[in-house]
């Protein structure tokens, strides 16, 4: 490969099977991995399927496996990850493949539902706006996890998900953690019960791959540890 050409292998296939296919892509300055995939689709093979939307790291749709690591491709510079001008691009791990680089995200978001990842207002609606001091410990704990863009990079990086497909995974548990710390929420006991099962927070072995790979630098491991503490305390107190 020359300095001007990238040697790119892209996984092509569907749920029935597939294989890597090789493409030569012109190298450009400050080119992202998403730029490379888009160039292949628009120049060489229009049948290549992949997902993207915002291209600026907000929507969480373009995550793929790049040289073995899950990454948000719109914000991943080729220069930072290519090894000797070589890129290997595959769909995210731990999710069913729809076609080529596009995964079925349904199992991922189903887990958010199973983890009670929805805000449930307390039965008695407040008469005025809820006042949540920004410096309060609960607000700070929620702030630490609230910027999740749902890209599933943590879910793909997680070995526990790979070993146990039912494991709720870092993103769903991080969402539950932010809601447990939301003082306006009224479903704390139900949520702690939902995340405390065999495939919930207690299944986490604190490998911290989620924390290592999260493109938003969120730390799901810390939130999961918090859920372990709270669910154990709730069980001891007989809250559920």
């Amino acid at each position: 490969m020359s300095d001007l050409t990238l040697d790119v292998q892209v996984w092509r296939g569907d749920a029935a099977g597939g294989a890597f296919r090789r493409y030569a892509v012109p190298a450009r300055e400050r080119q992202t991995v998403l730029d490379v995939v888009t160039w292949i689709q628009r120049t060489i093979d229009p049948s290549l399927s992949y997902r993207f939307a915002c291209r600026v790291g907000m929507c969480g749709t373009c995550a793929m496996t790049v040289n073995g690591k899950p990454r948000w491709t719109c914000r991943t510079l080729v220069g930072a990850v290519a090894r000797a001008g070589r890129l290997v691009v595959a769909p995210l791990a731990n999710l069913p493949v729809v076609k080529d680089l596009a995964c079925d995200m349904a199992p991922f978001f189903d887990k958010w539902q199973r983890a009670e990842g929805r805000f449930r207002p307390a039965a008695a609606a407040p008469a005025d706006f809820a006042v949540v001091p920004p410096e309060s410990p609960k607000r700070r704990a929620a702030d630490a996890g609230i910027e999740c863009i749902g890209c599933a990079v943590c879910h793909a990086a997680c070995d526990i998900v790979a070993w146990n497909k039912d494991y709720l995974g870092p993103a769903a548990l991080n969402r539950a953690w932010t809601l447990v710390n939301d003082v306006r929420d009224g479903a704390r006991a139900a949520r702690l019960a939902a995340v405390a099962g065999d495939a919930g927070c207690h299944a986490c072995h604190s490998l911290q791959s989620c924390r290592e790979h999260c493109p938003k630098h969120i730390n799901p491991t810390a939130g999961i540890a918090g859920l372990k503490r709270l669910s154990a305390l709730a069980a001891l107190k007989g809250e559920w």
């Binding site: 040289n67 073995g68 769909p91 990086a157 604190s206 911290q208 730390n219």
Partner: protein, 121 residues
């Protein structure tokens, strides 16, 4: 041909948290496998003093001592790794997790060295 792309998971595992887990799991499995041998050795006492002493003399051989060193390091690694995990789960989060894993590894090696020095002394 496979529905799951044949991509190795190992590049994503290249960080201290994974290796701390791997050492903790491997040492735990190894110690569990050793436990029956430990009970068997203790059980020699039931057969009388001479049998137990014979076994203890056999365990003074250099190769057995080397295996004992490995056992001591495994025990220390599992203890330190377990304390690291308890700190993650029961104490407020600390960002120096890589250092915590390094301290656990250092503790295991220091205990191993202390055992070696005791052998030499």
């Amino acid at each position: 041909m496979s529905a799951v792309p044949a991509v190795s998971r190992w590049p994503a595992r290249g960080h201290a948290g994974f290796w701390a887990f791997a050492v903790h799991r491997a040492s735990g499995v190894a110690l569990t496998l050793f436990l029956p041998a430990h009970f068997w050795a203790l059980g020699q006492a039931i057969r009388g003093e001479a049998t137990l002493d014979g076994f203890l003399r056999w365990s003074d051989r250099p190769l057995v001592k080397l295996a004992e060193l490995a056992l001591v390091v495994l025990l220390a690694a599992h203890l330190a790794g377990g304390l690291r995990l308890l700190a993650i789960e029961f104490l407020p989060w600390r960002d120096w997790q890589k250092s915590a894993a390094a301290i656990s590894a250092g503790f295991a090696l220091a205990v191993g060295l202390a055992f070696l020095m005791n052998l030499a002394g």
